[in-house]
Amino acid sequence: MKTAVSNRIKKAKSQIAFEAFGYCIITLVSLFCIFPLVLIVSGSLTENSILMREGYKLWPAEFSTSAYKQLFEYPEGIIAAYSNTIVITIVGTALGLWFITMTGYVLQRKDFRYRGKISFLIYFPTIFSGGLVPWYMMLSKYLHFTNSWWARVFPLLMTPFLIILMRTFISTSVPGEIIESAKIDGAGDFKIYYAIVLPVIGPALATVGLFLALAYWNDWYNTSLFITKKSMYSLQYYLYDMLNSARFAQEMGIYTGDIQLPTESIKMAMVVVVTGPIIFLYPFVQRYFVTGITVGSVKG
């Protein structure tokens, strides 16, 4: 009796001490993470010539919203980039999740003979690749992805890591016996997938879905290779293009004529506009992490 009480007090004490320590550490780390972002926001709200001369401060040296005004003078480009990126992210994530869950399901089926070999074939491209040129040829010449939405959807549909993650999750959360007995009851392989497996893997869908969505949202590379129509630019590429046009002109000594290059504060305002709204996305996804997931090896 006595020991139980003292145990509980000890637990409470250690818990309190740990939490206090935890709050401090997490606060410090959050400050470290947010500090550069504060500089960006402050930079975007500083008059450009002051920004160039005095550098970035935590608080604008001379407050000005002119960068935002200039950005939103012609908002069509940003709006187009935003809307197509949202659509691409949703479509890509949905398709990717569908394919990845199917694959994960098949690869964890113990009565599927080639699951080990196929798992390895899926892992192998992590190490070996043919390089940029043949990959580009494949997508542009044979699949005609230039200026096609597919160029933005296809390359990010799945990754070996996410497939293995999904497979392990399904095999740990759906016992083999359930699948077996469903089979004996006459359920088809596909029915087992959508009626038995899919409903119980919510957290995995959230995690893998989040990673897929992030990849789509952050993608600028595929746009840079395959998309030339401004109306089809992804959001991050829209930003990237703006940032790099000036740098290129500078490095190559190219004369840009009457084409105005964006100023420093406009660039920063653009970063805020592109990145800012994301802060609302993550808490939304967070709610789905109710139960956890575990990851395993490639072998299956």
Partner: protein, 323 residues
Amino acid sequence: MSRPERMQGGAAVQSALPRKKGFLDELKRNKILFVMLIPTFVYFLLNSYMPMVGIYFAFTRYNFRDGLFGSPFVGLENFKFLYKSGKLFSLTANTIGYNVAFILIANILQVAMAIILSRLSSKLFKRITQSIIFLPYFVSYVILNVIVYNIFNYEVGFLNGLLTRFGMEPYNAYGEPGIWRYLMVIFYVWKNLGYGMVVYLATITGISNDLYEAAEIDGANVIQQIRYITIPLLFPTFVILLMFALGRIMRGQFDLFYQVIGNNGVLYEVTDILDTFVFRTLKQDFDVGMSTSAGLFQSIVGFFIITTVNALIKRKDEAYALF
């Protein structure tokens, strides 16, 4: 998967099957499963395996007229620029060194953050800080470089502003290559802390509460619970993340190095990795053969490293081995 599963359900199902049949029988028996694999099969075929034919580029002097198989075969000529540079060893060492540092330090911090966060009771605090820690993941390295430059710039940088305010000498960070070794790791962690944390947090959420309750009754304090329950259960996740990271150990964080170091040759000695070196070499005159040969070199060394590590792990505990 691990051994126990294979012994239980798997063995039972397999023994009920007809013995040793070919691919076609399997295809007939599990045709729905095969159909369900079609999208993945097509994806990897088009996105990964068919382009692998292009590895042959590494051995040709590419010209546009003759294409892949028409261009003259030149053996190992394209690899010459790598070893001719006299830097191949230091570049490889830098690439691997940075990646090991990134993988280890980032993972340790991600695990630590995930554990601490999972133990805090204020939901609101957790939610806000998690989002903040995640936010840098959305900031590209181009932007990071603008910030880095404005912190370390000698004349009007943030750091020197602070130093001079406290009466100290300004610090010339861009003239001190040594410090960048640590800065690069800090930048990497800054950007990726939140991303990896999610996987660990998800795993921790999956740990049954019964385990902790039982431990509490046994009188284990928080540290002991973490030490004996959480960490061992996170270990498999750590290993698989590690193995996937190792598969790409020869591919550096190109964007980070290219954007932050840029054209500042003074820092190359400590910050040059294979990807930046190759990119710089080919920036003005991109050469298909040289580019592919560098990629092939990275693949082969990477393959060698991953198979070695995998064999070592396999010998220790097969369950953790990747393949």
